[in-house]
């Protein structure tokens, strides 16, 4: 138990937001979270962000929040862990509170991507691989990495491209009901199956999009109805060639194991889940790694509809990265936003009276994973 509580949440619309700068988005989400928390005194700021330096020429996001929101001389820090930057920022905020140095902390995540070319964003994202490898110089990109995993998964199991499509369809159906999600338009299994191929077998709908957006959360030692029951963060292999088993992303499993142990509960106790579905394939591996379904059987759970809002283990009720969108540094905090709304009972795609919620945020080719377990008290 972290004895750290969530007091406020804020989130911008996710999508293509040309009228807002990265700073605009960041401050908007923070202001909303501060208001939702009743405007407490803030003792520190942590911001998760990945591409600010490379495609926006804007760092010092911590100090910008502290200054522009008039928070005074409070310590502020940007945190980077590739696509897990948001989850890692939240954990640093929790550590700051546990240290006794801070009582109440503002944690935010932001990314501005849609102003840049796809080539520049792809190049920027490739900084989440280890540069000094033959993989990167041979042209491997993230869709390529997860495409290889998907083909191997098909080979080892009975799964097909249709199972990936069912993940994408479920998340699109959820996203359509989420007014903050990037994609409001419904789709069909047929459209997903026939969409433009990105990297075999992953089509357009199997890949998370480029997104502008920000999210924020206020956490405190002071009590509130939402307790952060556990926080875990682990590092994993930085190179595909270091992965002993392509069908496992050990960082996810290990972050789950540690979080369950700290929380004193297991996968069966989790009522609602936000998972890092950067690709449809990743969601299937993650639901296995987190113990919701047996190894190599996640695809069957998808086929049976068990991860739908109406299923016994609702996953990505927000729409997930695939449909809510994936503004990289914001994603880990947007997951918390959705789960807090679930626990408060006013979420898009509300499930029935959830009490325990789990968020899992991934970075790189499994280089980072964080898990946070929230409890309604």
């Amino acid at each position: 138990m972290t004895k750290t509580y969530i007091h406020g949440i804020g989130m911008t619309k996710f999508g293509s937001l040309p009228d807002f700068s990265m700073k605009d988005l960041l401050l908007k989400a923070c202001s909303e979270a501060l208001k939702d928390a009743g405007r407490p005194k803030i003792d520190a700021v942590f911001v998760g962000n990945f591409l600010g330096g490379s495609i926006s020429n804007q760092e010092i996001l911590g100090a910008i929040v502290a200054n522009d929101l008039g928070l005074g001389y409070v310590p502020s820090t940007k945190v980077e862990g590739a696509c897990a930057s948001g989850g890692i920022a939240l954990r640093q905020g929790i550590l700051g509170i546990l240290s006794g140095e801070y009582e109440t902390v503002l944690v935010a995540g932001v990314e501005k991507m849609k102003h840049a070319t796809t080539a520049d964003v792809t190049q920027g994202i490739n900084a989440a691989m280890d540069t000094i490898t033959n993989e990167k110089s041979a042209g491997l990109t993230f869709p390529g990495f997860f495409g290889v995993l998907a083909n191997r998964y098909f080979y080892e199991t009975g799964a097909t491209k249709e199972h990936l499509a069912r993940v994408a369809l479920k998340n699109r159906e959820n996203g359509v009901n989420n007014p903050l999600a990037q994609f409001p338009k419904p789709t069909t299994l047929e459209e997903i199956m026939n969409a433009r191929m990105i990297t075999d077998p992953l089509g357009l709908f199997d890949c998370s999009p480029m997104t502008d957006g920000a999210a924020a959360v206020v956490i405190s030692r002071k009590k509130s109805p939402i307790h952060i029951l556990a926080s875990s963060q682990v590092s994993g292999p930085t190179k595909m060639q270091d992965t002993k088993n392509l069908l496992s992303i050990p960082a996810i499993g290990e972050s789950g194991r540690i979080a369950y142990e700290k929380a004193g509960l297991g996968p069966k106790d989790i009522d609602v889940v936000e998972i890092h579905d950067c690709f449809s394939m990743t969601e299937i591996i993650a639901i296995e790694e987190l113990g919701f379904f047996p190894k190599l059987e996640g695809w069957k759970a998808v086929e049976e509809g068990r991860t739908k809002v109406t299923g016994d283990k609702p996953v990505n009720t927000s729409g997930g990265l695939l449909s809510r969108g994936h503004p990289i540094g914001a994603t880990g905090i947007a997951q918390i936003y959705q789960l807090v709304r679930q626990l408060r009972g006013n979420a898009a795609n509300q499930v029935k009276e959830p009490r325990i919620a789990l968020a899992q945020n991934l970075g790189g080719t499994g280089s980072y994973s964080t898990v946070h377990i929230l409890e309604r008290v």
Copy 2:
């Protein structure tokens, strides 16, 4: 008192190191610190870095350290706060230990700059300003900012360009004795005074260089002879136009005030100092802000030689940023490296039996400052 102790230090040569990648430098400094600490079990990694994404297309430095050094699934995090990234990384390590989650933490800082063009590095460094200001769009750069401060300082005091040159000369004299420093060549006051102008009144020797390098430190809850007596981190104005008094960098003063209060001592108790002399002018402002000398009188202390190794308040015995070099993310950790060596009694430019040492690390135009006070116990 943080009750956190320093067990090991490591540092690469600073300078132009074309034969080493950023990763090589980072791992070398970390390996040396781990060896110096007696190879303890590491529970977490923090890495300070600023330009990895923008000029080296390499992020995930935390996971790279964890993986390549075989540290296992330990949490690892990159921390950014412009030129204060190193000091801020150290503070996050301390908070992690104070939280009770970690016993022993590896903190490193790294930057690789010399492979990039000056234009690309200047552009990258400008990410440490708030992009949405007329200052940046009007062409203000960091030498420009500190040049304006110097001219104002001259106007308000009796100081001249020669006082800046005396800071640069002192730090060069110190650097010449430090085998890890970037500039081994002695110089003269005349050469400094006549050097190529960068931004009036700052000449080439008044400006810290582009540098490759890394430094690392192992800290732990377990006791060692070097105790971190206090750690402070503050945010300050992100824009020159928000600065009420050009001759003050309030983040430095505030970080000093908090650290002194936590340590239960004052400026007079500090035996040896490493300060963020990104420009010669910055050193003069910093020795005033930290209370070593009265406001607007730092230049007199320089004139009297009081900040020399032989003076009553030795500042930057390593050579400082101006002569040891300024690999941005590494600087805050390199300061700790020098001070630990001073407290151990085996430093370049060793002062006589120091007991209390202070490091101050600055980011942006005063957007961040950290202070760490070390004590030999």
